[in-house]
Symmetry: C2
Subunit: 256 residues, 2 copies
């Protein structure tokens, strides 16, 4: 669907274009603080992480590099409107790590000027000034099973800056959990930032299977086991434990 824009540079010479891999929706946000919310998705290319279980590795492993479209904020709005018409008022910017892109501020401003609520997902490894303007930010530092290391100084700084924003802009922390070490990491994060709304999410261990029935059964079993582990802990009380709804409904299908 982005064919028309592929390799097209922005007509607004003053704004650096945004590398975009997917624009889709309207659909539901499947996870985290705005779970269930009707939203459009804009998925940017590029990530500073290489998580072992990444469900969007095509954003950084080179496999989709020929599909990256360089779009101006106006281009992105046109594509959003072409797909969603009057049937959305919320856009989620995801990646990859969209916080790598200093030029995203123009998109955020344009969306706000159209009355759109803007959500964003990032691991909290980079700060950008325009993060101050995002309505709903999910910070998802990565647990040991990802094989990534958390830079706590940077995460402290990002949390501190987000905590100082005006009321009405919200953010949360979300940790994906695959095993006991990940759950320990989740406790560490929650105890380091006890006043930040905290979400624990069951991981998806197989991001390529097409056997939906078996996949859903496995995901629900893992979610149940995660619930049991959290319920047994007195260090995880003010928390929410969630699955990925889109994976339960659509398994590993992309663009939904």
């Amino acid at each position: 669907m982005l064919e028309a824009y592929k390799n097209q540079t922005s007509s607004e010479a003053v704004v650096r274009p945004v590398p975009v891999l997917e624009v889709f929706g309207p659909t539901v946000q499947g996870e985290g603080m705005v779970i269930g919310r009707k939203t459009m998705f804009v998925r940017t290319a590029g990530c500073d992480y290489r998580c072992s279980w990444c469900d969007s590795a095509f954003t950084w492993d080179g496999s989709a590099k020929d599909s990256i479209a360089l779009l101006s904020p106006e281009d992105i709005w046109e594509e959003l409107y072409r797909l969603g018409g009057e049937r959305f008022d919320h856009v989620t910017i995801s990646g990859g790590n969209p916080a790598l892109l200093p030029q995203l501020g123009s998109l955020v401003d344009l969306l706000h000027s159209r009355g759109i609520t803007v959500a964003l997902e990032t691991q909290g490894s980079r700060w950008q000034p325009w993060l101050s303007d995002i309505d709903e930010i999910t910070l998802s530092p990565k647990p040991p099973s990802s094989r990534m290391d958390t830079d706590w100084n940077i995460l402290d700084d990002v949390v501190s800056r987000l905590s100082a924003r005006e009321p009405g802009r919200s953010f949360s922390l979300k940790v994906v959990v695959f095993d006991d070490r990940d759950l320990s990491y989740a406790k560490t994060v929650h105890e380091r930032y006890p006043n930040v709304p905290f979400y624990i999410q069951a991981g998806n261990p197989d991001v390529s299977t097409t056997n939906q029935t078996a996949h859903v059964a496995d995901l629900l079993l893992r979610y149940e086991q995660l619930i049991e582990a959290v319920m047994a802990s007195d260090r995880l009380n003010d928390v929410r434990v969630l699955p990925q709804l889109h994976t339960l409904v659509w398994s590993n299908k992309r663009g939904v």
Copy 2:
């Protein structure tokens, strides 16, 4: 588990006891505005409605009348603490319709004095002064498939009173949808109260099956169809569409 308290009257003569059918947890809240939240449940007996598809009909159809325990707030706290110890900081009061019970204010006060966040679910057919003190209220007016009629004057009044509460206390509207007429009803509710956070929930059409695999497949299909219907509408934008997580994980099992 409530055997010890059965038919026991409160030792606090000044407080009318609360008719309780279940105390359980900690578990996750499976639906609505605090979906995924670690919580304990207190389920009160009695309802002014008789919804055709009620998943807790034992609270009003007489089938569990011998299991109703008359508990003081202190009794309820003891039972919560016996089950949950230090592993919870959130209690959800559900029913039946707990808003039938003027005496619940004492329980809310006691829970708050223990540092507990209190959530409550009601259809919005009755006002009680203590509703002003509940941290998170889900109002769930019932759609046509329930065969109940909404008293809009009362619901207007309840929404108005809840809207006037101090910041930090939140409430939402939730409509369960089984069919197209229910979806039309949901649109009516959302448009009548456009500033109230709005949740649309896929109904559970079989509250007695024990075939969990088939049940979950049916629930996920219904959830997907509900998503598609909401995505196609330009009258349902600022909404969240959710399943019941506990039903996906535990089907119709009680007490989880």
